[in-house]
């Protein structure tokens, strides 16, 4: 699958996005350019109002840029949200099945794939549970399986672990890292948690706020698997946080 595709998974060139018109016109993104390698784990980091979710929406094709281009180089995108956003009237398995139903995949094949994907997120045997019968962390894993059911080459994640407790989040970092390495998917991971970004990312793109611009790009040169409480993660997180504070501080005047 990836053999025929180019090495660059995502090419963002001079993207700006405005909302509203006239005096109420707000600029969310200002001339953002970014290349993401195939199979890369990229974290988009920024304070409130940096347009990181807007950028993710553009990548996922939910929205179009005002100027500039977003080129997913023929790859499919899948999306995961902060709230697991499972459809409450369907079971876990039913939720994972929806993207496949939308693509017209036949029932036996869908069922087999659902079992496979739920096993991947280590929820085998939970297909018949309803979302309210699962814990928050489990719901997010169902949501992850659903994103994979889109056969996405680029996985867009919008603060997916933001609402979870620290213990669950820590374990889900391990899970996500494992699945990412296993599948070779390209991940664009939006977060405002610096440590989380350092824990997970190959690169961290720090966005400034109002409008969102690329302020700095950090390469995370720490061997995997990492632990969020390791010294090297903490060191880099301190550097990134310092830079983030500078960016936020500019809005205080």
């Amino acid at each position: 699958m990836t053999a025929v595709l180019s090495d660059t998974a995502l090419h963002i060139d001079g993207v700006s996005r405005f909302f509203g018109t006239g005096a109420a016109r707000v600029q969310a993104l200002d001339n953002v350019s970014l290349d993401v390698r195939s199979g890369e784990f990229l974290c988009l980091l920024g304070a409130s109002g940096c347009g990181k979710s807007t950028l993710l929406g553009l990548i996922a094709g939910l929205d179009a840029p005002t100027t500039g281009t977003v080129d997913t180089t023929g790859r499919r995108t899948g999306m995961m949200f902060q709230d697991s956003a499972l459809l409450p009237w369907l079971t876990a398995g039913g939720n994972v099945e929806v993207p496949m139903r939308l693509r017209g995949i036949r029932r036996p094949e869908r069922r087999a794939r659902v079992d496979e994907l739920l096993a991947m997120v280590r929820l085998a045997g939970m297909a018949d549970r309803r979302p309210h019968e699962l814990s928050g962390g489990m719901r997010q894993r169902v949501s992850l399986a659903r994103a994979f059911a889109q056969e996405a080459d680029i996985l867009c994640m919008d603060e997916p672990f933001g609402a979870l407790d620290a213990m669950t989040r820590d374990l889900l970092h391990d899970e996500l890292e494992r699945i990412w390495r296993q599948t070779g998917v390209t991940v664009i991971f939006v977060t405002h948690d610096v440590r989380e970004a350092v824990r997970l990312g190959d690169r961290i793109v720090l966005l400034s706020s109002r409008p969102g611009r690329v302020a700095e790009v950090f390469d995370v040169d720490i061997d995997r698997p990492r632990r969020i409480d390791s010294t090297r993660v903490a060191e880099l997180a301190t550097r990134v946080t310092t830079r983030l504070r500078e960016e936020v501080g500019r809005h205080g005047h």
Partner: protein, 363 residues
């Protein structure tokens, strides 16, 4: 399957040891167990009481309320406030109702009334549904007729009868016309509100999965709107039934016995026992239909996690169900909900509850 998921557990060579001597492989193995353990702790527990207990606890308050009502009725009769040929006691009314069950006339009337109701209601569902979908879909239609639908809904259906009788004479068509006018606006409004209150996040999810146009409606909007649609259907039935009863009292088609015609007939003959027997019939039909709607509504809420076993959300919020603390956890504070609870209620839960509440309270 197992080989696929255990990649990390069996892959210390790949995982390696961190440059600073972090024991990554073993940490990995531990974390796999930790996740399974956390799942086991996190998963919300459900308990079901035995069927007989649930049936009894659902039934006895109803029996009690009914008994109390009959007693009050009897007490009023005993006071001699009105002579018994105007206000008969409950026993004579129930006896009359029982004896009617054996007559062919009663069943003819019952069948005609129920068929009228179902026919009118079915047409109202189709018409109201189509109008509702159209108004929800096209903003221009909403601007044009959206507020008229609500005004129409609040009009007492009985005021349509003079026009209906002029248009259709004393005929089945006149009754049907008013029943449809009574029920369709509620059903249309149920659909419109349902679509309006679909959580935007779910629409975004649908779109991110590739749903567009019709498929977005089929997989996301329609099921998300269902609670409100169901509330509209229920309210529509209430209006249809009231309109029909008003219609059967006013529009008596010769040779067509009906419950309403019987009721009117009994009044004209000053047959108070007959009046009461007819009203018992009308009441019982209402009870049966209400039970059907409640079963549908409850099933939907249970599926969506909007009902804790035997509890409404309100009751669950006031305190835990009986006997939960005793199982396993002893006197420790039970925190088995904290994982699920902290990350939010089932999507759209509170909204769905309130939506249903708002629509039905308009009855």
């Amino acid at each position: 399957m197992a080989t696929e998921i255990d990649i990390n557990r069996g892959g210390p060579a790949r995982a390696g040891v961190g440059p600073r001597g972090e024991k990554l492989a073993s940490a990995d193995g531990l974390d796999l167990d930790a996740l399974a353990g956390l799942d086991a702790l996190d998963i919300p527990t459900t308990e079901r009481r035995p069927l007989a207990t649930r049936a009894w606890s659902a039934t006895w308050p109803k029996i009690g309320a009914l008994a109390l009502f009959l007693l009050l009725w009897q007490v009023v009769v005993w006071t001699g406030w009105k002579p018994t040929y105007v206000l008969p006691g409950p026993w004579s009314a129930l006896r009359e109702f029982g004896s009617r069950l054996g007559t062919g006339h009663f069943w003819d009337a019952l069948v005609r009334t129920v068929v009228r109701a179902l026919k009118g209601y079915a047409l109202a569902v189709v018409i109201g549904g189509v109008i509702g979908i159209a108004v929800a879909r096209f903003p221009i239609l909403r601007t044009a007729v959206g507020s008229f639908i609500t005004s129409l809904q609040t009009m007492p259906s009985i005021v349509w009868f003079p026009l209906a009788i002029l248009l259709f004479k004393l005929s089945e068509a006149a009754i049907l016309f008013v029943v449809i006018l009574g029920a369709a606006p509620s059903i249309a409004n149920g659909v419109i509100y349902g679509v309006d209150y679909v959580p935007p996040l779910l629409v975004r999810v649908g779109r991110s999965m590739g749903a567009r146009g019709f498929s977005l409606y089929r997989y996301v909007v329609a099921p998300a709107a269902l609670p409100s649609v169901l509330a509209g259907l229920k309210q529509g039935w209430a209006f249809a039934w009231r309109s029909l009863m008003a219609g059967e009292l006013l529009v008596i088609v010769p040779g067509h016995p009906s419950i309403g015609a019987d009721l009117q007939n009994s009044r004209e003959l000053i047959d108070a026992v007959g009046v009461m027997a007819s009203m018992i019939t009308i009441f019982l039909i209402g009870v049966v239909v209400d039970a059907v709607f409640n079963v549908a509504d409850r099933q939907m809420r249970v599926r969506r996690g909007l009902v804790a076993e035997g509890n409404s959300a309100v009751r669950a919020a006031r305190g835990r169900g009986k006997g939960r603390g005793s199982e396993g956890g002893g006197d420790w504070p039970r925190d088995d909900d904290s994982g699920g609870g902290s990350s939010g209620e089932p999507t759209g839960g509170p909204y769905l509850e309130s939506r249903v509440g708002v629509t039905t309270s308009a009855e």
